[in-house]
């Protein structure tokens, strides 16, 4: 077990407990006067129309996938950065050249992907760009 992670767990519990405490106290001391109008969804004064949870643009999904790819890339880079830092100071057995070349290849592969997404307009959000991207708005 990681002794050093225990305080982290403790802070998590304390912070969460404090938040719950604040919410509970607030809901106890606050008034409760429910009404149908108050419970309506607020749409800037207009009567709410229909159900809110409709479909959204596929671009949000694309952004999530792009994020996932680069997040994993970052996860691979962190250990590399630590090893690189040691190898330049002669602490390890690895030569800095190998370390750098490996990462150049790895990031280079992903750069091809980024360039492709860029050229295909997957990074564009404006209405004038990326016309090919399907925009699945809510069917009105």
């Amino acid at each position: 077990m990681l002794q050093s992670h225990l305080p982290l767990f403790l802070v998590l519990v304390v912070a969460l407990g404090l938040g719950v405490f604040i919410l509970v106290v607030s809901s106890l001391v606050g008034p409760k006067r429910p009404s149908a109008v108050k419970a309506d969804a607020f749409e800037c004064g207009n009567p709410p129309s229909g159900y809110a949870r409709e479909r959204f643009g596929v671009k949000f999904y694309l952004v999530a996938i792009l994020f996932l790819v680069f997040d994993i890339e970052a996860v691979f880079i962190y250990p590399w950065a630590i090893v690189f830092s040691d190898s330049t100071r002669g602490a390890g057995t690895l030569s800095p050249l190998l370390v750098v070349v490996e990462m150049v290849v790895f990031v280079g592969i992903l750069m091809i992907g980024l360039a492709y997404a860029w050229r295909k307009g997957a990074l564009e959000w404006g209405p004038e760009h990326g016309k090919g991207l399907e925009t699945t708005t809510a069917g009105h």
Partner: protein, 180 residues
Amino acid sequence: MLEQVSPSFLLFVPIALFTVAGACGVAFSRNIVYAAFSLLACFVGMVGLFAFLSADFLAVVQLMVYVGGILVLILFAIMLTNKISEVRRSNPSSNIVMGGVLMIVLITALLGVVFGFPWTVGAPQPFAATTETIGRAFLGSYLLPFEVAGLLLLAALLAAVVVARKEMTPAEQDGKGGTP
């Protein structure tokens, strides 16, 4: 193991229960959004288990990639899907008999392994930071898998762009302009 209840065991039980409860939520929830958020609880429990096993880097990766990335993807996928609001229809339970049979077989196999294998209880290892060790492994014996992982990520990226691009006729484009 049960006869000597150590403090770390007391910590392990709530983490494990939390993880299992999350997994059960995923399996039994009738509302797909609740299932997704139960998956969140399950993943967070896994982070706790990794930290418990002194695998600090894996705990971080679990948090960053699964909780922070894949689950966002799942949530977006749910929100993108049509008629997802009808939760009764989106998550029907079917094939209960087949599932039950499969479950019994799997549980028997797992219990067989748990009680049949001669486990050796090792001495607790002193904690060592794993980030650098993993980095050395990437640059040493796992150099090729590391680069292949890069190619896999590239494939995922290209596929995402291609899948999200559906060629539309001009008429369709006029009908569906603008993002929300």
